[in-house]
Symmetry: C2
Subunit: 453 residues, 2 copies
């Protein structure tokens, strides 16, 4: 019998997150205070985050215990399945072995709950009653709404207005879980009201939504703010994905030659590859290729500058050393909303700078073509974000065919596309276009990079 | 560690479907030819179905081997997980143990692929190049589109126009898998054109969509027709659900006192309970309760007549002995589209008549209230159909609390509600209403029951 799925028993589920900071050949550059330009202290972050998460952000411990209360919730959907894409292999007539770890079967449909649940928990133990956040396409807002329901925390989501209007199902899902979701700009904050006064029909932006969520959080003692990607503690929580996959690949008697995943803020792919990259750092597996895939129209790692920049568009956050297209850069309206971000997780940028991982940019239509091929072989309708992985995995599998090599390819598949069917419709109707790299806009945005001594 | 999920290894996946016909205390009443009133022969069905399925329809063998080609596809999502609803139990403060077998994690999101894949396979081996079907809400059309993609069979779906317009995501999903989906009435058949000539804005009905799909199938030699519920072979294919669950409940050291599921055509719930009811028939477990749940507004088993009737609204199909509200009955527009059917699987009706299973009708708003409770405890957003199960399971769990009894309740959960969020929105906004039992309409429809000698 040829197996296509590997389950991991709940008793074998990892009980620790893996912290790459313990194994980095060089430490991460410090996060800087935007006012003083000096490294920030845990106390600087305390108005926004619980101390449990702040300490994880800077921890140098290799293994961090997952609290029992988080494990209990993880066990409502984890371990997730490792799949072998046998039907895709057959259709490509490739000698490559293609595996994918799929995070789409949980309640919210993506990898995001891995950190949403942990963040809700650490806020809960510090007595926080309410969390604010922003959401673009809605994946992150959904996950935090779900986590809030489980820990009885009130969730307020500022959703970019254009998405709020275009994706009502995402908003309704958040409401089903009991969250309060408002379009941003809203009348609930000064930032929102100021914008509405100037521009009543403003479609909103992620930067503005962050401003609203942060303003709301700091204005109330019972409220914190939560971020769904980029930061070290978020990537840490996602390592449960790769730790499970290591056990499952062993069950499948396989080891990856190539690991591929898309990067927006970087948390899903880091969650998969960080537990493997330690084999590369230790010299156990020096030739392993780790390929980060990004959109050609928002090519942060492949074309960005490695510099200190703000995490948000309005310049409210601490300064992060990362590849950046400039915090005022507005990416073209591609359908992979989760990949439209000017910056990138500092851990990913650091590893790229150290030459441990590579990056590749792909155009939108080729991404959907790969998504359709996957749907018609493996059956799964993928979100536009992981279709980026599929494009590059298929390319690599075809190279294996040309070269007659049987490599093992592991895909970090972040979730389903059930709420993204309008974009598939556009593709099938030939209405999807490839945006060129907006070089001029990036140059303009990069002029506004903050000065750091 | 308290476990919440039980995986079944692929090597332990059942390789046979269970055929209840071998164990019935009395045989099923025959299916009658609508013209002659005599029992139909396999040849009568040959223009519509492949002989492989027709022989399963009448087989008396207890176990039917699942072909390797079907198992290979099942293994892209099966075995599905058995869950324990620990968070729901805690929220209800009940001593009951609540388990649910969840069919929502596969590519199409419901139990329907279990039979769609098998039906596509048997058509494929008989050289069929094309299959037609109808779909209401789109669950079944999606599953057959998915199966068609995997077996390289062209799928033509006639989708009730009002659903086609209201649920564009379902239509797009079918197109992603490569199916051709048209609104019914369409210009592709005489039945459709006749209707459009009379009534250009006709919103369509399931009965008319069946007429179009059947007319299309019989007009071409390379084409067959496919049905997603009701018939014996469809229920047979779904028994993989219950056979897996038996093994998983043993792993969990549990045995159900109560099994609960919703019934529209009956295939999902039968797929779960048929493998258990043999313990009741054999006397091993005489007190096991099997509760079929239906909508109060379309209460086929609780209020219907047990009589011969057509399976479709237009009177084209053979006559089935079943509970029926009358084939011309049009149910109120409740949101559980999969439960709006005038008849019921003959096997379910027969078992009810024999006193082996019970039925219960529930109102729509209570169903959504249960769905919200489940979403805010277990996290899953359920389709409106399985929310019917949840309502009754919660009622039974609360009875256990009152009586201080720790019963084991097993829910047959058929799938997710990602495409049904508009109905949750209506509920949350207080716009959902409970339709009374339309007694007068049922009486009128039942007058038109066919005369059988």
């Amino acid at each position: 019998m040829e197996r296509s799925m590997w389950f991991l028993d709940q008793k074998d589920m990892p009980t620790k997150w893996y912290n790459i900071q313990a194994d980095l050949p060089e430490p991460l550059p410090p996060v800087l205070h935007p006012g003083t330009g000096k490294p920030i202290t845990p106390n600087d972050l305390a108005p926004l985050f619980p101390m449990g998460l702040i300490m994880q952000e800077v921890s140098q411990e290799r293994w961090i215990e997952i609290p029992d209360e988080v494990l209990e919730v993880y066990r409502t959907w984890r371990p997730t399945v490792l799949y072998r894409a046998r039907r895709l292999e057959k259709a490509l007539d490739t000698p490559a072995k293609i595996f994918y770890k799929y995070e789409g079967t949980n309640q919210a449909g993506s990898h995001k709950p891995n950190t949403a649940v942990a963040q809700a928990y650490y806020n809960k133990v510090e007595g926080i009653k309410r969390i604010t956040t922003e959401t673009g396409a809605g994946q992150w807002g959904s996950a935090l709404a779900f986590a809030g329901a489980l820990f009885d925390i009130e969730i307020k989501v500022y959703m970019v207005r254009i998405s709020y209007d275009q994706k009502p199902y995402r908003r309704i899902a958040m409401e089903v879980w009991g969250a309060n979701c408002v379009p941003s700009p809203s009348t609930d904050t000064k930032a929102g009201r100021d914008m509405l006064a100037k521009w009543p029909d403003c479609p909103g932006s992620l930067g503005l939504a962050i401003s609203e969520a942060v303003e709301d959080a700091v204005s109330r003692d019972d409220t914190h703010y939560s971020l769904g990607s980029v930061l070290n503690h978020v990537l840490l929580h996602q390592t449960i994905i790769g730790e499970e996959t290591r056990k499952q690949m062993e069950m499948a008697d396989a080891y990856p030659d190539i690991i591929v995943g898309c990067i927006g803020g970087g948390s899903n792919f880091a969650g998969q590859f960080l537990p493997w990259i330690r084999d590369k750092i230790s010299g156990k597996s020096p030739n392993m290729r780790i390929i980060c895939v990004e959109p050609e129209s928002c090519p942060t790692v492949t074309k960005g500058l490695y510099a200190y920049d703000f995490g948000d568009m309005s310049g409210l956050t601490p300064l992060l050393k990362m590849y950046t297209l400039g915090h005022t850069f507005v990416p073209p309206p591609i359908h992979a909303g989760g990949l439209r971000y000017h910056g990138m997780a500092p851990i990913i940028c650091h590893l790229h700078k150290l030459g441990l991982i590579e990056a590749q940019a792909v155009p939108q239509t080729a991404v959907f073509e790969a998504g359709i091929k996957f749907a018609r072989t493996e059956g799964i309708i993928s979100a536009p974000e992981p279709c980026h992985d599929l494009k590059v995995a298929i390319d690599e599998a075809l190279k294996c065919k040309e070269e007659g090599k049987s490599k093992t390819i592991l895909i970090a598949h972040s979730g389903h596309g059930h709420f993204d069917l309008a974009s598939y419709n556009a593709y099938l109707q030939g209405k999807l276009i490839d945006y060129a790299y907006p070089e001029e806009e990036v140059r303009k945005a990069q002029i506004e990079l903050p000065k750091v001594a």
